[in-house]
């Protein structure tokens, strides 16, 4: 090792190992989340209002 290298390492605390680790990284873990599908949006005829929730239950006849 040359003198200037020694100086650099002494001053910074950066070890060759830190640099070599950065240059030889292990592969990151895979992250998985699949796209979902929202149920089709129903357009109320007339009102033109987006219906995102199920219709309010109505009392059954009889």
């Amino acid at each position: 090792m040359r003198t200037d290298e020694k100086v650099i390492q002494r001053v910074t605390g950066i070890q060759a190992a830190d640099i070599e680790a950065a240059l030889d990284p292990v592969e990151a873990d895979g992250v998985y989340r699949d796209s979902r599908q929202c149920a089709g949006l129903a357009l109320l005829s007339g009102g033109g209002k987006l219906l995102l929730s199920p219709p309010t239950p109505r009392p059954k006849k009889g």
Partner: protein
């Protein structure tokens, strides 16, 4: 995995440096990418180590725009090459990264020392397409137009495998690997058209471009594609 304080600071310095390279690649202004020499103390040393980690890409803007490097910049680059030679037991990517820097230095300044002999590619002989792509992505600074080295020749024989690795990296949301693989794909003949590289690079930038190391590879890939067409 917990990182040491030094390693965290080093990563931050690499990101800063990469941001500068990205701006230079985007705007054509490549001033002050590499910090001026003579910055004393820890900050300067950290910056020097960051140049070593970013490797040959620290001079990429000038290289792609065929602009001679600023002498001060070149001096720092040279200092990084000389200060951090690979240790005898260093991993192949470390040795290749250093070789690429020495080679870039020699190209930028023919009065520099001859680059050392090329390391070998034995570690990639028979590598699966997954390992191959990961290693090539780490060695993305070697993906340059007109480059002729053993890693380049090896990659040229496996375009479909690198394309598969790109798909895998996007699926795993490993944007750095995807960006590095995408940069290689711009150079390799025989990549299936169905990979959709152009929209793929846009997608990787959209998803991972906040990371300057991702943005750098995407930007480099775009510049090289433009160069190839122009």
């Amino acid at each position: 995995m917990e990182q040491s304080g030094t390693s965290t600071r080093l990563q931050a310095a690499v990101q800063d440096l990469a941001s500068g390279v990205v701006s230079a690649l985007r705007g054509g202004d490549h001033a002050h990418v590499v910090p001026p020499a003579g910055t004393d103390g820890e900050a300067g040393d950290l910056a020097l180590a960051a140049v070593r980690v970013l490797g040959a890409d620290a001079l990429l803007p000038g290289l792609l725009s065929h602009t001679p490097p600023d002498p001060a910049e070149l001096a720092v680059f040279r200092k990084a090459v000389e200060a951090y030679p690979p240790r005898p037991d260093a991993a192949p990517t470390v040795r290749w990264s250093h070789w690429a820097m020495a080679r870039t230095l020699r190209r930028a300044d023919p009065s520099s020392a001859e680059p050392p002999a090329e390391p070998d590619t034995a570690w990639l002989d028979g590598a699966t397409w997954q390992v191959l792509t990961h290693q090539l992505a780490v060695l993305a600074p070697l993906a340059l137009p007109g480059e002729d080295c053993a890693v380049h020749r090896l990659a040229q024989h496996r375009p479909v495998d690198v394309a598969r690795g790109f798909v895998r990296a996007v699926r795993r949301r490993d944007w750095r690997q995807a960006a590095g693989a995408g940069r290689w794909l711009t150079l390799l003949p025989g990549v299936p058209d169905t990979v959709g590289l152009e929209s793929g690079l846009d997608f990787v930038e959209l998803m991972g471009g906040q990371d300057p190391l991702v943005a750098l590879q995407v930007q480099a890939a775009r510049r090289m594609r433009m160069g190839a067409r122009g």
